[in-house]
């Protein structure tokens, strides 16, 4: 099997198996993606941030929760790379650990929302009729609120915290995915190959799961990546308003909220987590733009 994944095998014009064809296509997409320097930059930064957060215990120079009131609001130095916050905690270490919370919230939202939206959209699109109309009305209602404001109301009714923030953002984030999956399904539903599968006696569930949803996935991935940045911003916004992760947790938005009164004098304390949010969000935007060009050329 060593020769299986050679370049020639991947680029072959005459794939001899379905697997080879699939991997060949993926490799072609990767080659196209690699030519886009901005998208590659986005990918590298996004992956680096995820890895840095995962490796936070190894990379942190200090315990993110140990206070040192004698050395509060210190500017960046060799000892504290990003300075210290209002309780003398090391900002660099808090940013690393904070990435686990902020990016973790984003990943959790996406894992909750993408499959839900995909299934709802595909079922609505494939079934059509009454079910379709009901499901789309529901998405209409959710789309009728600005995302942050609806999330605020949900969190307010629950208890401020990471879990309710994730839940609230997820509740407000799924309708666009359902819309997207439904639109894709409507075009696929009448395709000849679906008719062929139906003729072989496949059940509706099998058709939706095996033949419709996979076709929706590329555009969904693009949408998810582009959405990641807006989820990051919403999560940070909730944290900033005091409704997301609660202090002393080092969530980036929360860190800005507790440090915002120092903006005029010790400006780096609130600005550094702001930069972290900006870089994370920017990298997902660049990555999403690049993926769209490769996976979903018709949206360009």
């Amino acid at each position: 099997m060593s020769a299986t994944f050679s370049r020639d095998w991947l680029l072959s014009d005459t794939p001899s198996s379905r697997r080879q064809a699939v991997w060949g296509q993926r490799y072609q997409a990767w080659l196209a993606f690699r030519r886009n320097p901005l998208a590659m930059g986005g990918l590298i930064v996004a992956v680096a941030m995820l890895l840095l957060s995962l490796a936070a215990p190894l990379l942190a120079t200090h315990d993110p929760s140990v206070q040192n009131l004698g050395n509060r609001l210190a500017p960046p130095s060799a000892e504290h790379w990003f300075g210290t916050d209002e309780l003398g905690r090391d900002v660099y270490s808090r940013i690393l650990y904070g990435g686990r919370i902020t990016l973790g919230m984003v990943v959790a939202v996406v894992l909750l929302v993408a499959p839900l939206g995909l299934i709802v959209g595909c079922v609505a699109g494939y079934a059509g009729g009454f079910l379709d109309r009901i499901l789309m009305r529901v998405t209409d209602v959710f789309l009728a609120f600005p995302r942050l404001i609806l999330a605020l109301a949900f969190v307010a009714a629950m208890r401020p915290g990471v879990e309710s923030a994730v839940f609230a953002i997820a509740l407000t984030a799924w309708p666009p995915y359902a819309r997207l999956a439904r639109a894709e399904t409507l075009t696929i539903r009448n395709a000849d190959y679906v008719a062929a599968v139906r003729l072989t006696g496949a059940s509706a569930a099998r058709i939706v799961l095996r033949h419709v949803t996979p076709m929706c996935i590329p555009s969904l991935i693009v949408r998810v990546t582009l959405d990641m940045s807006s989820i990051i911003l919403t999560a940070a916004g909730l944290g900033f308003l005091g409704l997301g992760a609660q202090p002393p947790l080092p969530e980036w938005g929360t860190m800005i909220a507790t440090a915002r009164r120092f903006i005029l004098d010790q400006w780096w304390v609130p600005v550094i987590p702001g930069i972290a949010i900006f870089v994370a969000s920017l990298s997902f935007n660049l990555l999403g733009d690049g993926l769209r060009d490769v996976l979903d050329p018709k949206q360009r």
Partner: protein, 333 residues
Amino acid sequence: MKALAASAASIPITLFGLVLVTFFIGRVMPIDPVIAIVGDRAPQDVVEQTRAALGLDQPLYVQFVTYVGQLLRGDLGRSVMTSNTVGQDILTFFPATFELATTAIVLAALIGIPLGVLAAVKQGSLVDQAVRVFSLIGHSLPIFVLALLSLLVFYARLGIAPGPGRQGIVYQDMVDIRTGVLTLDAALAGDWGAFWDAVAHLAQPACVLAFFSLAYIARMTRAFMLNELRSEYVITARAKGLSSTRIIWRHAFGNVAVPMVTILALTYAGLLEGAVLTETIFAWPGLGQYLTVSLLNADMNAVLGATLVVGLIYVALNLLADTLYRLLDPRVR
């Protein structure tokens, strides 16, 4: 016209959904509204009494009907925090948000649209690159970070912008409130000192808020314009020997203007969301600040009232965009 009627017909269903959502958040979510009012140390009989007084011992559907009835009478309940009715509060706070958001969208459109047109006409040029970078930043930078940076630079360091708030202390409560839009009220009263003070206070939050819509508007304008500039009628216009100004603005932009109306209406709706964060930082006494302060005080009537109103504005703007689109485009008229 038929399509417009259909889209208008779907409005009541959406509104019903909105009410259902706020009702659900208010009554079914984990926080017990009774405990929120009387506190969790209140004796059991007080809790029960309050529950009955609020009608919360009734079955859910009865509660819902009561709730809808109240809404139809314009009764959003009473705010625990301000002890006014929520309706009154919203009328007090909304004009400030309206002033801020409207200024922001006007700024954003006045700068963003020409910028987008220019980027499309000179595709690949420096302006085009700048618009791209600009819109990427606009999409990635949290608005509250930009607001903080703006305070740092323009207020603290350069000293060219006044601090947070809507008025300088000198002018506090000097202007009669007529419309609630402070700049307008000051102008109506002929108090030009107060007017310029209000404008100065408005400038910074409005610019911060405008930046985000500006990035989006410029990017959409660019995309639409590129599409139009490639079309055949632009070749016709060039073949007629028209000036490039006329080709770009009368012909290509004439076709972009129609979808732009939709974009502007949607952007305006999105500004309401940005306003929540901006108002918090600039201590701008608008609906956004009202909402966040109510949130932190667990004042659910106020939260739900404000959320519902924002939802209503959202739906109204969508309908407006749809209607304008149909009125402006001769093809769907």
